[in-house]
């Protein structure tokens, strides 16, 4: 037996001091060393991870759930990743925030297999260490290693970089540099659109600057700065803020994007539109994300999602559900053509016809209204005061009156001034035959409205919003709705009855499956409407906005570092985004020139229309782009119908300069001209915000756990690992972008390394949200400071340098110690009980739900010129020009999903999971279909569609990757549907060979196993080079493609 070393003795002695508090706070009987030492059975025990000096807490990003993690570090190597017990995502309930690290260390919390396997992404043998410049044609995967500084110089200065002719550098695109000029140009361009000045007047006034515009005849497109586009895939607060400051507010381009529309954007847009407040004549401020409170729910319907595989996400959600099953508190239904793992535990599996969720919801709505099973008292509350008088914190516009046009179609809400009831911009309800004025935000004078009314006033015909909804639902019988969605009518009734049998403790949850369709927004609106009918918002067991987070950007009064304003000479970009998002077509000079139909769709109600960026650039509409920066994403591989994007990226004439940063040469970054290595998520900073399924306020901090394996370089004279941040800082240094370098944040506050930015975020979190600092965390004591330093003793000064870090926050010792307290716990986490208050949730929405969405009804489709619907209609799958899609000769409906072990394109190097547990994925189909086609399990098949009749990824260089894999028969899938999981089928990302400095680096064939179906998804022929898209929410259609399954 090993003798008790001095070190161990000191640890034991130190521990004794903390035992009392620990005992009282969390673990009454737990004191570790007594038992272990008294009766150890092992001759020696070298297991080191009972000591906090080997631990750094951080945040995962293997998926967007952002679970907090606990990194176990041995000799500088990250050897194991666990869940962080301080965080509510990882333990139910999590341990108190004041638990000292040396006691918390004994508690490993939950983490899903993807998170655990992160070790294998961190040490992926295919990670890039140095800067690569292409040495062949685009996409040929021939590379030369070049010095970082050379790459930055070439990118900034341009020139004949590849022997293919001149390439513009970023300096050429950095056209408008003066913030004042930017502001004036923006204002005058707007005036031209509005007709307040003529184009000629604009040109005369700005004659000296016309060369700085993309098109002097269309000044509203903005400056040439906009021709530099940043396209991020998975990016979160922290990096998102860092890169927006750089691209938007320093370089002056408006084109910053993340990947949301290939994820679940229409769901966010539907939530936002239905929860917008009406203030000063505008609909704004809606919540983009709400979730059931699964810890108290009695009944939940999961539409196109679940709790155990993807969503937001299995680590936090699973036990909330299984505890409910164990105690009998919870029952649930899963609406999914595939019998998911969540469906395996469900009371009801609803194998719906893909994309018909609105029909199912409308069938339920019909039954709920026919049988008056809605919460009439709730829905009658027409404003805040009425809600509060009834013990509610949310209210609805169900009773509000909507005007009808001559055709009897709803248009906008009736305004009180239109019928002479008020001078102000107010809404109207009908109560006992009287029309009453409604100010939705009035918290003093309750107004109640009758729910099912119609009538006429001042010659204006109207119906209440609920009446309109009822009329819509009554367009079909329950049997007919059931026929549309392929579900038994009795099941619709059962679901509707169950949903309305639990008071506020029921909810309808939705995610990707319901919304990645061309009708995705309406599907989402229909589903969310179910929640409004029972008024479950803010109730325990109902619909939650979640605990939220502390403000890392310093936007709250009194916070130490208000980052948005710590930006001298900040510019405000202007112009039309290349995706034509957040702007109405009718408010553009293009509209004045072309009218309807627009050449390509405009997306005024959404943003981050990821799939449209490269296709828009290829089409040159609204303008061509000159430089693209791809960051942690794969726009060709992860987007439906990627072949046209591959074709565009291959051609340097389409986008002359493509740069990227990635941890491995991926399916899209292989098309870069310059590819920078990036720091992994275990090597860098981040400030993710978490799912509303979590009711405690949560601010995880991602921080470096190990020394990055990438090359270190000097930027602004400081050593740092190559990363997205280093690239941006180096370009800022070369171009002299405002807000960087000496005094970059203001006098005395330099911005010369990433930590100068991120530590200010940590400081803001540590200070908290109260102006007087009353919300600040405690200062770390000397023992915690020692733990903090020891745990980072393996990190070199380029990664951790305490003196330099303190300088980044102005050498404030007290603040620094509070930051250490946060970093020692991996973030800031409110107590579990802090999330609940009586029968309600503690963190509440306190706002309005509308079931008629005027803000959408006022917008016209940019191709057809017809208005969108304010109601959750059941709409056909359509091309951008409005043509319905049939493809009935293709017999199978293709859907995708993710196994819990897989995350899109980037978990293929996780051999513990994507090789040991599951070697490949399959084309899954119902056994009856399998038999009908004469196929057997394991037969190789290919998927083909109308727009990809060959069923291939076409890399354009003669190389074609067939979309083929083994077929597998199941009972748990709707006949006529095929499902393919989405995390296999690589040809890059370590799956194929690449040439670096003339030497072949062989790919690993295990990584090319299985298939990725995305490219057979349908191209929108009315546009030619992009997938089908929801015109309202912008979601890329993953689930509207019909395919044939062909034996190969």
């Amino acid at each position: 037996m090993k003798s008790l070393s001095r070190k161990n003795f000191l640890k034991s002695a130190a521990f004794l001091g903390g035992t009392m508090m620990f005992s009282e706070v969390i673990m009454p009987t737990l004191s570790r060393f007594q038992g272990a030492q008294a009766y150890s059975s092992l001759a020696q025990n070298d297991y080191p991870f009972d000591s906090p000096e080997h631990i750094i807490y951080s945040v995962c990003l293997q998926c967007h759930t952002s679970c907090a993690i606990k990194g176990k570090i041995w000799n500088g190597v990250l050897v194991k990743i666990e869940g962080n017990p301080y965080c509510p995502l990882n333990l139910l309930p999590h341990i108190p925030y004041n638990t000292p690290p040396e006691q918390a260390v004994l508690v490993d919390a939950k983490l899903c297999p993807k998170g655990i396997a992160g070790v294998q992404s961190q040490y992926d043998p295919y990670r890039i260490r140095k800067v690569l410049k292409r040495a062949g044609k685009r996409g040929e995967n021939k590379w030369q290693v070049i010095p970082f500084d050379q790459a930055i110089d070439e990118i900034v200065n341009g020139g004949d970089l590849f022997g293919e002719g001149p390439v513009p550098g970023l300096k050429d695109l950095y056209a408008v540099r003066d913030p004042e000029l930017m502001k004036t140009l923006a204002a005058d361009a707007k005036a031209v659109v509005k007709g307040e000045i003529t184009l000629e007047e604009f040109k005369a006034k700005h004659a000296a600057h016309l060369d700085k515009l993309i098109d002097p005849d269309m000044p509203d497109l903005g400056p040439r700065n906009n021709q530099f586009v940043f396209q991020a895939g998975r990016i979160q607060p922290g990096r998102a803020d860092f890169s927006k400051r750089w691209l938007n507010n320093a370089f002056g381009s408006i084109n910053w994007y993340e990947h949301t529309t290939i994820c679940e954007q229409s769901h966010h847009i539907a939530y936002r539109e239905m929860t917008n407040a009406y203030v000063d004549g505008k609909w704004s401020g809606g919540k983009t994300h709400m979730k059931p409170d699964l810890t108290n729910a009695e009944f939940v319907i999961f539409f196109g999602t679940g709790a155990f595989e993807a969503n937001f996400g299995p680590t936090p959600l699973s036990e909330m559900v299984t505890r409910g099953l164990e105690t009998g508190r919870l029952q649930f239904a899963v609406v999914d053509p595939r019998f998911s793992k969540t469906a395996a535990k469900a009371r009801w599996w609803v194998p719906i016809k893909p994309g018909t969720d609105a029909a199912l919801a409308l069938g339920m709505i019909r039954w709920i209204l026919d049988n008056q099973r809605y919460d009439a008292a709730y829905l009658s509350n027409a404003n805040k005061a009425a809600a509060n008088a009834n013990g509610e914190t949310t209210w609805s516009g169900a009773a509000w009156l909507v005007k009808l046009n001559d055709a009897g179609q709803p248009t906008t809400f009736l305004r009180a001034k239109e019928i002479g009831l008020s001078e102000e911009d107010r809404f109207v309800v009908s109560k006992d035959g009287q029309l009453l004025v409604v100010d939705p935000n009035d918290d003093k004078n309750p107004v109640y409205g009758d729910l099912l009314v119609e009538g006429e006033a001042n010659g204006i015909r109207y119906k209440s919003a609920l009446q309109l909804l009822y009329d819509l639902a009554k367009e079909r019988s329950i049997e007919e709705w059931a026929g549309e969605c392929g579900v038994e009518p009795e099941l619709i009734v059962t679901l509707a009855r169950e949903f309305t049998s639990h008071g506020k403790r029921a909810s309808a949850e939705l995610y990707r499956g319901a919304v990645q369709h061309t009708n995705g927004y309406y599907n989402a609106q229909a589903i969310i409407t179910l929640n409004v009918l029972i008024g479950n918002g803010d109730w325990a067991g109902g619909l939650a906005v979640g605990g939220g987070h502390w403000d890392n950007n310093g936007g709250k009064e009194g916070q130490p570092f208000p980052l948005a304003s710590l930006h001298p000479n900040k510019v405000s970009p202007f112009g039309i985004p290349v995706t034509r998002e957040k702007v109405k077509y009718e408010d553009s000079l293009y509209f004045k020139r072309d009218g309807y139909p627009a050449k390509r769709p405009w997306y005024p109600l959404t943003n981050n229309v990821y799939q449209e960026i490269i296709p828009a650039a290829a089409a040159g509409y609204p303008y061509p782009i000159k430089a693209l920066f791809i960051h942690k994403g794969t726009p060709t591989f992860a987007t439906p119908a990627g072949n046209p994007a591959i074709e565009a990226l291959r051609d340097p004439k389409v986008i002359p300069l493509v740069i990227g940063c990635d941890i491995v040469v991926g399916e899209s970054t292989m098309f870069c001209d310059y590819l920078f290595p990036d720091t992994s998520i275990w090597e860098r900073w981040g400030f993710p915000h978490v799912t509303p399924a979590i009711q405690s306020k949560t601010s995880g901090v991602r921080q470096p756990m190990v020394d990055p394996i990438v090359e270190k370089v000097k930027v602004f004279g400081e050593e740092m690992p190559i990363s997205m941040e280093a690239v941006m800082l180096a370009i800022a240094e070369r171009l002299g972008l405002p807000g960087y370098g000496k005094d970059g944040f203001g006098p005395g506050l330099d911005f010369t390394r990433p930590e100068d930015y991120y530590l200010k975020m940590v400081a803001n979190l540590a200070f908290g949200d109260k102006p007087d600092g009353a919300d600040a965390v405690p200062e770390a004591d000397d023992m915690e400071m020692a733990v903090f330093r020891k745990a980072r003793s393996h990190l070199p000064p380029a990664v951790f340098d305490e003196a330099r870090w303190k300088k980044a926050i102005g050498n404030d010792e007290s603040l620094w110690r509070r930051m250490v307290y946060v970093l020692n716990r991996g973030g800031r986490f409110e107590s579990y009980e802090g999330g609940y208050k009586g029968e309600k949730l503690a963190h509440t929405f306190k706002g309005l739900f509308t079931i008629y969405v005027e803000n959408v009804a006022k917008v016209k489709h940019s191709l057809t010129g017809k208005p969108f619907s304010g109601l959750p209609i059941y709409d056909a799958v359509r091309l951008a020009d409005g043509t319905p899609v049939q493809d009935s000769e293709y017999e199978f409906h293709l859907i995708t999903y993710k196994e819990i072990i897989g995350g899109q394109s980037r978990t293929v190097g996780n051999y513990w999971t994507q090789n040991s547990i599951m070697q490949e994925n399959y084309v899954l189909m119902n056994r009856a279909d399998l038999a009908r086609l004469g196929l057997r399990d394991g037969d190789m098949v290919k998927l083909v569609s109308l727009t990809n009749p060959e069923g291939v990824w076409d890399l354009g260089n003669g190389q074609k990757i067939p979309v083929s894999g083994k077929v597998k028969g199941l009972e748990g899938i709707r006949p006529g549907t095929v499902a393919v999981s989405w995390h296999y089928g690589h040809w890059a990302y370590g799956a194929g060979d690449i040439i670096v400095n003339g030497q072949r680096i062989a790919g690993d064939p295990r990584r090319s196993a299985g298939l990725c179906p995305n490219t057979v998804m349908r191209i929108d022929q009315s546009l030619g080079n992009v997938c089908l898209t929801d015109p309202i929410g912008g979601s890329a259609s993953f689930y509207d493609t019909r395919v044939k399954v062909v034996r190969v």
């Binding site: 272990a36 194991k80 869940g83 297999p113 396997a117 294998q120 299984t322 599996w349």
Partner: protein
């Protein structure tokens, strides 16, 4: 009705149980596991946590989740069966070991002495649960990829010792040995729960001392839903399932 707020996680409850058990001599403990199949969500976090904890190479799995689909569309069920080593009271694997390298400790854990094991693999065949693997010296990256990843050679702490497998060093344990689940003894004796327990997403797995009537594991093992695998063999597993 005010909502009931949870006050203690299962993990913390089990840590308390563990701490009590560690205060007794090893002979008085009987480590056991209860897996509630109703709460198993088939996520395989246990399987992967085990791989990471014990650094098991390709072909070595101490733990698996067996999955099956039953029924006919649309009346379908999917069942998940996590399968660690059963830590039998009468372990068939022990009886067949020609060199007594594998034995049952007084606390119920069946262990392998890597220094004694000759790699004959009789025990693999003898185990009715398929819970043992042989370490052929495979690596995830060595032999497959341009470089050897750090995780391939970083240590496992099995039995409290630093085992660092190295490519090409096929004579060094645990390469060439039979390998199996140890209930993470190295963690237990540092006052920590087994890796598969702490990471269980559904909260389906419970661990503790079967000799401690106050422990959660004893309460659950007394459930009428309890079964053990292949009871008829008389192996007396220390792993219980709740159906």
């Amino acid at each position: 009705m005010t909502v009931q707020v949870e006050t203690k996680s299962m993990t913390v409850r089990m840590l308390e149980d563990l701490q009590r058990a560690l205060q007794k001599p090893m002979e008085e403990r009987h480590w056991a596991m209860v897996i509630d199949l109703r709460k198993c969500v088939g996520c395989n976090a246990c399987t992967v946590a085990c791989k990471a904890e014990n650094n098991t190479p390709p072909g070595v799995a101490y733990h698996v989740v067996i999955e099956e689909e039953i029924g006919k569309y649309p009346n379908v069920a999917r069942r998940f069966l996590p399968r660690p080593c059963m830590q039998c009271e009468h372990p068939p694997c022990v009886k067949v070991c020609p060199v007594n390298a594998t034995y049952r400790r007084p606390d119920g854990i069946v262990v392998i002495d890597y220094d004694v094991c000759i790699g004959c693999r009789y025990c693999l065949t003898a185990c009715p649960y398929g819970a043992r693997s042989f370490d052929f010296g495979e690596f995830y990256t060595a032999g497959h990829t341009p470089e050897v990843a750090a995780y391939d050679t970083s240590p496992s702490f099995e039995y409290g010792r630093l085992h660092q497998r190295q490519p090409g060093r096929l004579n060094e344990s645990p390469i060439g040995n039979a390998r199996k689940c140890t209930f993470c003894i190295h963690r237990l004796e540092k006052g920590m729960l087994p890796a598969c327990i702490t990471t269980c997403l559904g909260g389906a797995r419970v661990f503790g001392d079967l000799n401690d009537p106050k422990s959660l594991v004893v309460q659950l093992a007394a459930s009428p839903r309890v079964v053990r695998l292949k009871e008829e063999l008389g192996t007396e597993p220390s792993v219980y399932y709740l159906l």
